[in-house]
């Protein structure tokens, strides 16, 4: 296999090639960096690329592998969503507020990947502070969809998804608070997973909405996702919300037979809100599962319509508090002109944050403020419980839930310029999952008018293994996940 093909194969293939000494980490990293350089001006998938730093790390990875050949993942490059603190790397969260912030410590996710010898290719572009569904909210400019440069890749992990889709990286980290991994994965035609809340440490992951945020992965296949999940999963005593469990590795039983699996189809998700084109693709993907021996069961998620209202109360509330630390005092942007402390705060924050972030901070402060807390925040958390109960009930009737990721495919850039709140409504299938804390993934399922469509699979709490088995089985009988955007097939190498 030539280098160019190898770069398009994914983590499993790279690991094997590195293991067989067919190629070195330095060679692989150099090749990807060259691709990134070619793609960056148009795609804008990265905020920071540091060739020297990456090649130094690649060299270290080669030594690591030489010293202990069982380090089977050493040297595999990965793009890091710019929300994970990484020591010595500029960590911006897509914001002017952190434009010059060099993180003085590593997040847990970065630490775990570094420990296995993964090599950071660069810091992936994202919606500012992970707030957005299109990657149009980045201070560093929007990311384009590699399948159609006039369209968005999805968000907030748009850069990570675009990078993997365009072949600039075999894998990338992401975060998913309301769909920010699954939706860009779907819109860019790659695989992406959001684990159960509490499976992956949030330590060092710049917080947006603490009770909803989870770190996850993008890759070219469910098989790769399984390997990557095993690297980043695990209890971390530095994150009080991370859960201490001993689950078997996701990669272990990937080939388990899925015959007889009951697949729940939420009746509320296939109605009016879903575009015809997407519906067709998702339904045939589900048919594929049926042909593999799965059984379809209709399930009822009556609280579905409440998910977006609940989310847009809870997430902004938590964000408004999480972002208070950005005040120009200890790090981050500080206004040049101010006459007193109040102005220091107001100007540093007014200048440092973009409009979507401000919108959510304002909303959040409002719903938490005196007199409104019970009616909005508390009520939203109660409705959240009801949404989780819906899923709990559903999972007594089925083993996984299947459905769309988004009502449409990727929309054109600037579609919601005048009406940002309208964009929120497109998160209707992804948000309920975060509210309940469930694991879910998106895998390529086909195309609608040339744009990728994703199939969402949702599992019961802690059943990532089952999810990945199902996805992997789907990917052994279909080849949607191997498709690549024509625009990026000519990169060298």
């Amino acid at each position: 296999m030539n280098l160019s093909d190898l770069l398009n194969q994914g983590v499993t293939a790279l690991s094997a090639a590195l293991g067989r000494r067919e190629v070195s980490a330095v060679e692989i990293a150099t090749a990807y960096l060259d691709r990134i350089e070619q793609a960056q001006p148009e795609l804008n998938a990265f905020i920071t690329v540091d060739r020297e730093h990456t090649l130094r790390d690649a060299l270290t990875a080669d030594s690591m592998r030489a010293a202990s050949p069982t380090q089977s993942l050493a040297g595999i490059p990965i793009a890091q969503k710019d929300v994970f603190c990484a020591k010595g790397w500029r960590t911006t969260a897509g914001s002017h507020m952190l434009e010059n912030f060099i993180a003085p410590y590593d997040s847990a996710v970065v630490q775990q990947l570094n420990k296995q010898g993964f090599v950071t290719l660069g810091r992936a572009n994202m919606d500012e502070f992970a707030m957005g569904s299109s990657n149009e909210n980045s201070y560093f400019g929007p990311v384009k969809n590699p399948w159609d440069l006039g369209r968005v890749p999805g968000g907030s992990s748009g850069g990570s998804a675009a990078a993997v889709a365009a072949g600039l990286a075999p894998a990338a980290t992401g975060t998913d608070t309301g769909g920010s991994i699954r939706q860009p994965a779907a819109w860019c035609g790659i695989s992406g997973i959001k684990p159960t809340y509490g499976r992956v440490s949030r330590f060092g992951m710049i917080a947006y909405a603490s009770s909803l945020d989870q770190a996850g992965m993008f890759a070219r296949s469910a098989q790769d996702l399984a390997i990557l999940m095993d690297v980043i999963s695990g209890h971390d005593p530095r994150d009080a919300t991370s859960v201490d469990r001993k689950d078997s590795p996701c990669a272990k039983e990937l080939d388990k037979d899925i015959r007889g699996l009951r697949v729940g189809i939420p009746k509320q998700w296939f109605g009016e809100g879903l575009s015809a084109g997407v519906k067709v693709v998702v339904e045939s993907a589900i048919q594929e599962l049926v042909m593999m021996g799965c059984e379809c069961v209709e399930i009822d998620l009556p609280m579905s319509e409440q998910a977006i209202p609940a989310y847009y109360v809870i997430a902004p509330a938590e964000a408004s508090s999480n972002l208070s630390r950005f005040d120009g005092v200890r790090f981050g942007h500080r206004a040049a002109q101010y006459k007193d402390l109040a102005e220091l705060y107001e100007r540093s924050r007014g200048e440092g944050f973009g409009p979507e972030v401000k919108r959510r901070i304002l909303m959040g402060s409002y719903v938490l403020s005196h007199g409104y807390y019970d009616a909005y925040y508390l009520q939203a958390q109660r409705v959240r419980r009801l949404i989780a109960n819906d899923f709990e009930r559903a999972f007594t009737l089925c083993d996984v839930i299947a459905g769309p990721v988004a009502p449409t495919t990727a929309f054109p850039l600037g579609s919601f310029g005048a009406d940002p709140v309208q964009m929120y409504l497109a998160d209707l299938y992804t948000i309920p999952v975060n509210l309940a804390g469930l694991p879910a993934l998106s895998i390529p399922a086909g195309f609608d008018a040339g744009m990728p469509v994703g199939l969402q699979l949702i599992g019961p709490w802690w059943q990532e293994a089952r999810l990945l088995q199902t996805a992997h089985a789907f990917q052994t009988t279909t080849d949607w996940h191997t498709k690549r955007p024509a625009l990026y097939s000519g990169l060298k190498p």
């Binding site: 993180a103 949030r202 060092g204 603490s210 994150d239 919300t241 402390l341 938490l368």
Partner: protein, 482 residues
């Protein structure tokens, strides 16, 4: 101003810094006096991405406190965020507990001139301390030191049940002694380990509704607490009597001017937007954990006081002194343990008497007393068994204090034994009687006082070692016998 028409209502909020090694939500040290910002780790600084993780020992100390005041310890309590902007608050919110605190209810007994009173507590909760702002040396600016940010605090809140500055100070002292007794706080007020805020209001005698209250913050001495409250009471009464209204506000005490002043508010409208901290799942405290902590608790002051009165027969006064601090009780217990045969009252008298006087004269704490319980026990044993007299015992104590040494060795080396031998004493007395015939006649003539003269002379002659009881018996017999 007619004070008698007014009733004063006081509630106290005390912040006790818990005596842990590390901070409440991070592994940074809490040691006092470090160079600025050398004990402020990433979590304390609120760097992007950091998360709080609670300190087991801080929770354990909260449980201890709850047990010591007879409170309900919540099986599940919640950490909440109190949101406001201030430079010494790095995250822009303080992690505290709002609706469901770890300790609920409880009470403390206080003593005042009027007698005993129970002060009920509303609650006690865990929270993190903020950093410090320094204003000197920085032209038009303030320098922020975040070493203190994240130090564990227990905020203890009373019901508004105190009715005078005397009661407030008595409560503050009792609480101070208690937190030191159960070893959850070192009580070092200079270092800020124990800080009181007083909520003060007044109302006309007989009125049911409370008046508007003012909060006086950060009083770090009992004297300041008293003076601040007194000033505030006068201020409020005068204000109302002149037709004004008390404005609810926070005030600071200025010890130089002896007055309270309004503080410029830190946060407009005080809208703290409390909500449960999503980074911290509920704090669960099991019955087993509470039982474990309970079994490790020392005997509490009140229980000990009762025991001393009921089982040992000590007076309320003596028992009170011996239980005012844990050190006093422990000295006493150690003393009794070593002084076999010595009466409890005797031990109490010596601890509250000679020992106490000696440490006061020397300006020492009990822990640094120059006579330890073993030494004193040796002395008391010999006093009890008659080896030495009461008078000599006092001398022996002085010797031990200034030179050290064990009772038996000193008694031996300095010949301090009591002279109880009848023969020897008779000899001395007969000599004295022969020497002072007029006084003998005076005594026989009815002048009782002369007895003392002979006792004094006999003591002189024996260097104070005559056994007083023996001496008295023999002297009486000899004087009357003829």
């Amino acid at each position: 101003m007619t004070r008698a028409n007014w009733e004063v209502v006081i509630g106290l909020e005390t912040h006790a810094q818990l005596s842990t090694q590390s901070k409440i939500f991070s592994g940074a040290s809490v040691a006092f006096g470090a160079e600025p910002n050398t004990q402020a780790c990433a979590v304390d600084l609120g760097l992007p991405g950091v998360l709080p993780v609670p300190n087991h020992a801080a929770v354990e100390r909260a449980i201890r406190f709850g047990l010591a005041v007879g409170a309900h310890i919540a099986p599940v309590s919640i950490f909440a965020r109190k949101n406001y902007f201030y430079p010494d608050l790095p995250k822009g919110y303080q992690i505290s507990q709002m609706e469901i605190p770890v300790v609920q209810g409880g009470s403390l007994r206080i003593q005042t001139k009027a007698g005993e009173k129970i002060v009920n507590l509303t609650r006690a909760h865990l929270e993190e301390d903020a950093g410090k702002s320094l204003h000197e040396d920085f032209q038009g600016q303030s320098g922020i030191d975040l070493n203190r940010a994240g130090t564990p605090l227990l905020e203890i809140v009373t019901e508004p049940e105190m009715r005078s500055s005397e009661e407030a100070v008595a409560y503050a002292r009792a609480l101070h002694a208690l937190v030191r007794w159960i070893e959850i706080c070192d009580g070092n007020m200079q270092e800020g380990s124990f800080r009181c805020d007083a909520n003060v209001s007044v109302r006309p005698v007989g009125q049911k509704e409370f008046g508007t209250r003012c909060e006086i913050k950060n009083l770090n001495s009992f004297r300041f607490l008293e003076r601040a409250i007194e000033f505030e009471i006068k201020r409020q009464i005068e204000l109302i009597e002149e037709g004004g209204q008390v404005v609810q506000e926070t005030r600071l005490f200025d010890p130089d001017r002896d007055e309270t002043r309004s503080m410029r508010s830190k946060e407009d409208a005080h809208d703290y937007r409390y909500f449960p901290d999503p980074d911290l799942p509920p704090l669960c405290i099991s019955e087993e954990w509470i039982a474990e902590v309970a079994s490790g608790m020392p005997e509490l002051p009140e229980a000990r006081r009762q025991r001393y009165m009921n089982e040992l027969g000590l007076t309320e006064y003596d028992a009170g002194l011996l239980t005012a601090t844990r050190e006093a009780g422990e000295y006493f217990e150690a003393l009794r343990g070593a002084a076999k045969g010595a009466d409890a009252k005797l031990c109490a008298n010596w601890v509250n008497g000679e020992l106490s006087a000696a440490i006061n004269r020397a300006g020492l704490e009990l822990a640094d007393a120059k006579v330890n319980p073993t030494q004193l026990a040796g002395l008391l044993v010999r006093l009890t068994d008659g080896t030495i007299s009461g008078k000599i015992a006092k001398e022996l104590f002085e010797i031990m204090w200034s030179e050290g040494g064990e009772a038996d060795a000193l008694i031996e080396s300095r010949g301090l034994q009591q002279i109880s031998d009848t023969g020897a004493l008779e000899g001395v007395l007969k000599e004295l009687i022969a020497k002072h015939p007029e006084q003998v006649e005076e005594y026989r003539g009815g002048k009782e006082k002369v007895f003392g003269f002979f006792v004094g002379q006999a003591m002189k002659a024996t260097q104070g070692k005559a056994n007083p009881a023996q001496l008295n018996t023999l002297l009486k017999a000899l004087l009357l016998g003829g």
